[in-house]
Structure formats: structure tokens, C-alpha cells
């Protein structure tokens, strides 16, 4: 996956968890929680989907790395490098 695809992958997961959110204008460097309504339980779901779709494990102590889209790209880049993008949301 390229960095752009990682962003797509994360947005697609968020769209599955929170279908009512507007995701087109998400900024890369601002915490996701400040842009859309996500609580700690939603992060649990993001991690769950990453494991289900891509077999990527994110231990709890690393959850903070996923706070922004930039953070996601940086942290997940190596883990997703050889994975194919899978889109599942209804959007």
C-alpha cells in the first residue's frame, strides 16, 4: 500500500464504524478526535478492523500513534507495505 492508500484504508474503516461522519475534509496533521466524534471505544474498533482486514496487530500502548492520519501513515506504513487495499464501507 502507498501512503495515499493507507489514508484511504483508514478513512474506509472510519466510514464503516461511523457511517454518518463527513470524512472528505479530514486534515492529516490534526487529531482525528478533534475533527470527528470518535471515542476510545471507536479506536478499539479501528484496531479491530486493521487486524481483520490486514492481519495487523496494534498493541494498546501504540494506540496513540494512530491519533492523526499522519501518525497512521507513519506507524502503519511498514506494516501495510506489502498488503492490498480493501474497501468495505457503504460509502
Amino acid at each position: 500500500m502507498t501512503n495515499d492508500e493507507i489514508v484511504l484504508a483508514i478513512k474506509d474503516i472510519i466510514a464503516t464504524i461511523a457511517p454518518d461522519e463527513e470524512l472528505a475534509h479530514l486534515k492529516m496533521d490534526v487529531r482525528l478526535r478533534e475533527q470527528i466524534e470518535l471515542d476510545s471505544m471507536d479506536f478499539l474498533d479501528i484496531v479491530m478492523e486493521l487486524r481483520k482486514r490486514y492481519g495487523v496487530q496494534v498493541p494498546e500502548q501504540d494506540y496513540l500513534e494512530l491519533a492523526t492520519l499522519d501518525g497512521c501513515v507513519k506507524y502503519l506504513g511498514p506494516k501495510l507495505a506489502d498488503k492490498q487495499l480493501k474497501l468495505a464501507s457503504r460509502a
Partner: protein, 490 residues
């Protein structure tokens, strides 16, 4: 056969927990001793009609998009579309005491204006109550140790208003006699007065089917007629004490109980199932009774809940509207003082709930009228009856219920085309809750922990009750264990 998780009970909390576990990729099975799912809020066929066993109202109504409210949170976590529930909102409900009424609906403005009309001197105190009410971020089902009665008595000068506010909240969630914990009061006040009532089109059955479908789609296994006879606990290594998070509970258990770790369950047919985790929705007392006795000793108060109910269901050819009633639910009490307790007689006809599914703004019109009347009932007294007296007393209690309905809402006497009743014994038989205690033990275990590693409680005795509450309970407990596990497993 080894599972990551087993769930005892396919009630709403078990289904909520099951969907989450399956979503987390766990190998999970729900074990239900009955032939149908739903538990306290199930359905049955009788006389060619389909009845909901419990459903009066889905409390905690919230419109689509309100994601921070409990209903929004559970739908999101379970990935269920709000539209799929086809919720119809209530018309209005009321608290009726002799000579006085307070109506409320899903719009708080109605209750506000009713309080200003009936208790003009209390309007400001009511606003202060709204402002001071703990928010959901503080409400985890734990007990504050503060009495709601005492708290309200300090806020309102009119004792009658206090009684009237407590009445519906006790009926829709009070696990102990006479009073509510302040935390529980806040949860129920929000669920009933601030959020309100709705009815899923078709009753509870389509909701349950939706949950089962989600569960199976995520890979979960549901086994009916699979009563759990024993929970297998491995004794010995005191792992609970090593971990900081478990210290509080471990201390509780020092007083005589052995430490242990769950290994699985044995079914009533003798089959053994191994599992890493067991989640039980059977209730606290009932779950302990399934564990080896050395683990059940010294765990604090374990008496079953004191409160149970009698309910009559009356089908009429005409709809309630034609009989002069266009409301949804009436919580009545025939004296200025509301006594929420196990009655000395079989039932207490002085107070109760009258409701009908007909007057919701639902997309699915009902073809007949249905009246449900709920009265407080004494489990021990019903239990003591011989079979013949039991049948006769059921009929007599139903007459008392219909007389109360005639006085406080509308009269269906002489108009019934079908009638059914259930007692605390019926509730006990179908859900296994000791004493027929609908809202469980008076002592809740908000973190779901039992003192036995790997064994968690969900549902009624964890602390959240009602349809939405039970689902939230299952979800929350599983999420917490997942977070704890995420830290240690990797």
C-alpha cells in the same frame, strides 16, 4: 472443543457481548438453555397470536445521529442501522396519583410545563435537578452510596412530586425496595424522562432477529437448549493478586473464597466445553451457584433481588383509542405515598404500570388492541400455592389489574377476546433469575468482575437494565476485557 469465549444466556446482554466478541475475531458460542433467544425480553406464541414477553417500551429513545446517547452508542458498536429498528415514538405517558397527573413524552418541554402547572413552586428546583444530573461520562452503573430519595427530598419542598418522579423510574429499573441509588436514578431519569419511549415495528422479535443475524454474520455460534450446569474453575495460582487492576476485587475475595481461573463449562447434557473466558448473563447469585462452592464463599452479599412482578395481557377487538385512551403508559399509585416493595399479598393492586403498544407512531398498524398491566408481586407467596389455587389466584390478580386499569386509564372489562397472565414463577422458570427478580440483585458489579479470572458478569447484575441497558452492558464489559487483553496479550 476450545473456545476463546463462551457466553451464558442469549438475552440482550449476551447477544450484545457475543456480537462484540465475534467482531474482535474471537471464537465464541452463546449457550442458551431455552428454545428461543431474548431472555426477559423475548416472544411467544399463544392462541394463534405472537406476544412480546416483556416489551412495554424501548427506553432511551434517541433519533438517528445522536451518537453520544446510549442508543446511538450501541447501534454504532454493533453496526446496526438506526432505520433498521423502525422505531415509532410514544404519544404521551403519565404518572397518575389520586387527583393529580404529570404527563411526559419524548419532548422534555411537556414534562417541564406539567411540573410548572401542577407544582408551580418547584419549577426552579426541577431546572436545578436537570442541571445537576450526572452525565453519562460519570454513569457506569456503580453505586454512589447516596439515596435518591434523600437527594430529592433536599431539592423539592413537595413530597408528592418526589414520589411521582420516583414511580416510573422504580418500575422500569429499580432493583431494590423503596429507593434508588443516586447513580441509578440518574441513568433511569435520562432513559425515561430525557430520552423517552419508542416501539420497534413488529415488537421485540425483529430486533432480536437482527441481533442474531449480526452475531452469526460475524461468525458467532448460537446454541439453544444448551443449559449450563456447571462452570469449571481451576483452583490455585493466585494470579489475581499479581495484577494491579485486580487488587480491589482480590481483597474482597480474601475473606474465605478461593482464587481461581475459569476453564470452561459443563452443559446439562454432560458435554464439556473449554474456554479462555466465560461471560455470564444468568445473574450474580445464579452464576455463583454454577461455580464450585469454595469460590462462592465470602463474596459479600449474594441474596437474590427482592422485586418481582405480575403482569396481565388483555387482547381486545377494539383499539385503546376507541375505548378512550390515546396514551402510551400510565404509572399509577392510589395514595400520595409510593411504596415500591415486595407486597405482603400475592400482588399489590395499589400501584403499577398500564400500557399499550397501540399508540406509538409506528409504521405498522396493529389489528387488535392490547393492554398490559404490571403489578408488584411476592415471589414466595406465589410459590407457596398449590397448582389449583395458583390458577385461581392468577385469574383473581388479573381482575385486580383490570380494575386498576379502568380507574387510572381505560376499561377493557367484558371486552377481552384473549387473556394471558404471568407471575414471578413464570419469570423465574423462563429466565432462571432467582426469585423472578426482573432487575436482579440489589448489589451490582459494575466492572463485571467476579473474582474468578476469566469469568465476567454481563447484563442485569452488572448494573445496566432494560433493552438498551442490557445491550450496553454486554458491549461495555467485552470492550473493557479487550482493552485489558490488548495490553497483556501482545
Amino acid at each position: 472443543m476450545r473456545y476463546d469465549a463462551l457466553i451464558i444466556g442469549a438475552g440482550l446482554s449476551g447477544l450484545g457481548a457475543g456480537i462484540r466478541l465475534a467482531q474482535f475475531g474471537k471464537r465464541v458460542a452463546i449457550l442458551e438453555k431455552h428454545t428461543v433467544w431474548g431472555g426477559l425480553n423475548s416472544f411467544y406464541k399463544l392462541g394463534g397470536r405472537l406476544f412480546d414477553s416483556g416489551l412495554h417500551a424501548l427506553t432511551n429513545y434517541a433519533p438517528r445521529g445522536e451518537r453520544t446517547k446510549p442508543l446511538g452508542r450501541i447501534l454504532r458498536q454493533l453496526r446496526i442501522d438506526h432505520d433498521a429498528l423502525e422505531l415509532g415514538e410514544q404519544s404521551w405517558s403519565a404518572v397518575r396519583f389520586p387527583g393529580i397527573e404529570l404527563r411526559f413524552s419524548n419532548d422534555l418541554a411537556l414534562l417541564r410545563s406539567e411540573i410548572a402547572r401542577a407544582f408551580p413552586g418547584e419549577a426552579d428546583a426541577f431546572e436545578r435537578l436537570l442541571a445537576d444530573l450526572p452525565g453519562y461520562e460519570l454513569l457506569d452503573g456503580s453505586s454512589s452510596g447516596r439515596s435518591a430519595r434523600a437527594e430529592l427530598a433536599g431539592r423539592f419542598r413537595e413530597p408528592l412530586l418526589v414520589e411521582m418522579l420516583l414511580c416510573p423510574l422504580c418500575y422500569y429499573g429499580g432493583a431494590r425496595e423503596h429507593d434508588l441509588d443516586w447513580q441509578q436514578f440518574a441513568i433511569l431519569f435520562r432513559a425515561i424522562f430525557l430520552e423517552g419511549f419508542a416501539r420497534p415495528a413488529g415488537g421485540i422479535r425483529p430486533v432480536l432477529d437482527l441481533l442474531v443475524k449480526r452475531y452469526k454474520a460475524e461468525g458467532g455460534e448460537l446454541r439453544l437448549r444448551a443449559g449450563v450446569a456447571r462452570i469449571v474453575v481451576e483452583r490455585g495460582v493466585d494470579r489475581a493478586l499479581d495484577r494491579g487492576v485486580d487488587r480491589g476485587i482480590a481483597r474482597d475475595f480474601d475473606r474465605g473464597a478461593a482464587h481461581g481461573r475459569v476453564r470452561g463449562v459443563v452443559l446439562e447434557n454432560g458435554e464439556e466445553l473449554d474456554a479462555e473466558h466465560v461471560y455470564s448473563s444468568a445473574g450474580w447469585v445464579e452464576t455463583l451457584a454454577l461455580c464450585p462452592p469454595e469460590h462462592a464463599r465470602g463474596v459479600g452479599p449474594v441474596e437474590p433481588g427482592p422485586l418481582s412482578f405480575f403482569e396481565s395481557l388483555t387482547v381486545t377487538a377494539e383499539e385503546p383509542r376507541a375505548l378512550g385512551f390515546d396514551g402510551t403508559a400510565v404509572f399509577f399509585n392510589d395514595s400520595p405515598r409510593f411504596d415500591y416493595r415486595s407486597p405482603d399479598a400475592l400482588v399489590d393492586p395499589h400501584s403499577g404500570v398500564i400500557c399499550t403498544p397501540n399508540n406509538y407512531a409506528t409504521t405498522e398498524p396493529l389489528t387488535e388492541g392490547l393492554l398490559r398491566v404490571t403489578l408488584l408481586a411476592n415471589h414466595a407467596k406465589w410459590r407457596a400455592l398449590d397448582p389449583e389455587r395458583y390458577v385461581a389466584e392468577k385469574a383473581r390478580a388479573a381482575e385486580l389489574a383490570l380494575a386498576a386499569a379502568a380507574r387510572f386509564a381505560f376499561d377493557v372489562r367484558g371486552k377481552a377476546v384473549f387473556q394471558d397472565t404471568f407471575t414471578p414463577l413464570t419469570i423465574e422458570r423462563f429466565t432462571g433469575h432467582a426469585g423472578g427478580a426482573v432487575y436482579g440483585s440489589a448489589h451490582k458489579r459494575p466492572d463485571g468482575k467476579t473474582g474468578i479470572d476469566g469469568l465476567s458478569l454481563v447484563g442485569t447484575d452488572q448494573g445496566f437494565v432494560g433493552i438498551v441497558g442490557a445491550l450496553l452492558s454486554g458491549i461495555t464489559v467485552v470492550n473493557r476485557r479487550a482493552l485489558e487483553g490488548a495490553g497483556s496479550a501482545s
